[in-house]
Symmetry: C2
Subunit: 334 residues, 2 copies
Amino acid sequence: MNNEQIVFNKVPDGMPQDDTFKYEDIDVIEPSENELQLKTLYISVDPYMRGRMTNADSYVDPFKQGEPFNGHTVSKVLKSKDSNFDEGDIVVGMLPWRKINTVNSEYVNKVPTSDVPLHLYLSVLGMPGQTAYHGLLDIGQPKEGETVVISAASGAVGSVVGQIAKLKGCRVVGIAGGDKKVNYLKNELRFDAGIDYKKDNFPEALKEAVPNGIDVYFENVGGYIGDEVFKHLNTHARIPVCGAISSYNHPEKDIGPRIQQTLIKNQAMMRGFIVAEFADGFKEASKQLAQWVQENKIKTQVSVEDGFDKVPQAFRNLLTGDNFGKQVIKVASE
Amino acid sequence: MNNEQIVFNKVPDGMPQDDTFKYEDIDVIEPSENELQLKTLYISVDPYMRGRMTNADSYVDPFKQGEPFNGHTVSKVLKSKDSNFDEGDIVVGMLPWRKINTVNSEYVNKVPTSDVPLHLYLSVLGMPGQTAYHGLLDIGQPKEGETVVISAASGAVGSVVGQIAKLKGCRVVGIAGGDKKVNYLKNELRFDAGIDYKKDNFPEALKEAVPNGIDVYFENVGGYIGDEVFKHLNTHARIPVCGAISSYNHPEKDIGPRIQQTLIKNQAMMRGFIVAEFADGFKEASKQLAQWVQENKIKTQVSVEDGFDKVPQAFRNLLTGDNFGKQVIKVASE
């Protein structure tokens, strides 16, 4: 059986290049006691991974040069040396980017049902869904009738944030890049407005879309998009800060208006977070999100790239916004 | 009897100039039913007033051109047409900058005791004390053993913040400009460290002063001082944002590193506030602050300028940092 892994080869300067990633042929390992041999079905690429491709201090451990990247995956059990797992079980876990992983069973969890598209466990039923749920509800605390604005609104996190906000009775305004994404927000997800940040009239369009100001801004991108949004905050606005993807490749150039006077003027609150903070609430959120998906109250958009060799390009597409919806790589069929 | 007022004459461009202020001779008004005639003893000048000298939207109503400035004052009742007030009573209130005010009694409150220096009702026993108390305790929520950093630390608000933080068992680091203020922080207020932001080694000195990082940053100044502090935040740091005095004269030039990535990295919270939000807690805080002052647990430094004609210069000293401690103007003796 053929096995392969993708190793963190070189710290990128700006956008990750082909030499950031190195493919290596490796052996397939037989499982020992309590271990599982797993076939990777889907690999998730997520914006936060750019922050791990560095030597700098970050909120997650940086990837180690010379070792494989890792991230959330959906896998199928090929061989089990743990009586709690059977051959054919579908599991999720934070695993190395390999075609075949052999790991202690404590690193993975069985999915509650394989009766849904399995890549959903990497989006709404996985980490991005949890991020959206807790960032919006625990930090943003939207109330019925309030206005919620979301950047990167068609993405894996943003699309779920907006749909939950709609379920809570809010006016929802999504910011995304390009007609296709903006139309999706308005026509498919039924947001109240979709704004294209790539258009010259972005500031005016945003202003028109928030006639009652902004109560919650779910921040995914930072940069000048955030700067514009901050101009329309209401008193006691809440800003869950989930990401700043516009600046990941060039953090040293992330210069703009300082936020202090805006926060004072609006008595506003800004809170950076990572999903791991909310581990105590994962179970409850999973149940609620699964129910909403089942009832078709939350829709998802997925970009599937086919093949283990597509990982670098899929990751770059994420940083440039060339993907659409949750970006996953299909590594193998069930 | 001679009366005079100071009118908002012209919106300043940058630092307020002499023509921002206009002195006018006016009549003394006899009080009608429920009114008091008051002799102004002390006038407070505070940094937030710069934000009111504008045509722009702010968190407090802008001063109106052609009308007198107003702010917190300590006054003595000359004549009373309200049975709850007697001639000679000392009152505080937000009043026009006049030597003699005639106002409805609902605009003022009697001081609990005139057995303390009366200007304390404009500092620790007044609005700056409330600002310090609620900003630190309600938003900053310092815990014993944590590190609290304060900018403009020798000022009316900052000095109280730091002393409360010491009472709560925190390591307290104050940032101020010049040896005199820094020595005051260390020797008089017993802060654990005082840092001079005007010295070239400010970044290094700050870093050395916070070996365990920063848990609470009480922000009064913004600008590059804030930028440096943000480099040392701990996970779950809290940042009550009270002011950004470094940028009040040139808000359009308030450009620096955006904060989003820093907040995510540290899962930190930043919250702008104004003291009026905490009105429900004023009574409790007043009692506690008065007790601490009485027990000599909170000391205060006051800069008194003598004479109604000194108001413009005193206000400018505040913006440049040329004052030391709470800036008040003594308008008349009791």
